[in-house]
């Protein structure tokens, strides 16, 4: 896992494909330089929602991003289809 200035992790969101998807981000001197990009190929809106935290809406057929922060070791799910889940792990 490299720690470039801007790393992009791509997550495909289609059907239940987001299920159990993992994004690994490495912190570098306390800063994380990773952006997660979700691509929704479905005709349905999805979200990446952290309970009690942030939420990213991924409209049908579009991409959406989230800039990972140091405290972003989180489980996330789709608010509209809670059987779609993923998690982000920040290490280092």
């Amino acid at each position: 896992m490299t720690t470039g200035l801007l790393n992009r992790r791509q997550v495909l969101v289609a059907g239940a494909a987001m299920l159990a998807s993992t994004a690994l981000a490495r912190a570098h001197n306390g800063t994380v330089h990773v952006t997660i990009e979700w691509t929704n190929t479905d005709p349905f809106a999805h979200t990446a929602t952290v309970k009690g935290g942030w939420e990213v809406t991924i409209p049908p057929g579009q991409k959406a991003t989230h800039v990972v922060t140091a405290d972003d070791t989180v489980e996330y799910y789709c608010r509209f289809h809670p059987n779609m889940k993923g998690h982000i792990r920040v290490v280092g």
Partner: protein
């Protein structure tokens, strides 16, 4: 809905009588009609909810139901057109439509939190029944691979709807 339940129960019973399956399993044109009808019913229920509810979570849920089920039905229409299949009306579709109308009339008489609770509880029950029918009858009976695949996508999506409805229901208590 009674017929749908009966059909599902019958499908379970028929496991021990394989000859009966060929005679009673719905055909692809019937399956397409049943799946489409089930979607229309949920879109209608969502429209009713959007005209009545003042609860933000119920509204967000109903909006999602309307959009998702319309999108799935558009996919279904595109598929039957591509396959040159004409959906066939059948007893299960008719029973579904009748039960849907009756439920809508029942919900229409309620307001406020009583409506919200009854709508969301029914959404949990309805998705449970439709998902059960998809798993045990419609998906196993589908002959065309693309139709089967669309039904499988629908099942995953609707299982998500059921969980979403359960979350909203828990928040209403």
């Amino acid at each position: 809905m009674k017929t749908l339940i009966a059909a599902v129960s019958a499908a379970c019973l028929m496991l021990t009588a394989p000859l009966a399956i060929a005679a009673d399993a719905p055909s692809d044109p019937e399956i397409a009609h049943i799946a489409y009808s089930a979607g229309v019913i949920d879109v209608e229920a969502a429209k009713l909810a959007l005209s009545k509810t003042k609860n933000a979570d119920v509204k967000a849920f109903a909006e999602s139901m309307q959009k998702d089920h319309e999108a799935v039905n558009d996919m279904a229409l595109a598929l039957v057109k591509k396959l040159n299949v004409t959906p066939e009306d059948n007893a299960t579709s008719q029973a579904l439509a009748k039960a849907g109308e009756e439920k809508r009339a029942e919900l229409g008489k309620l307001d406020g939190s009583a409506f919200d609770k009854a709508y969301v509880d029914n959404e949990v029950a309805y998705h449970k029944q439709v998902n059960g029918a998809l798993e045990t009858l419609l998906i196993p009976s589908a002959q065309n691979a693309e139709l089967k695949s669309l039904l499988e996508t629908g099942l995953k999506l609707f299982q998500g709807h059921q969980q979403h409805a359960e979350h909203v229901a828990a928040g209403l208590k």
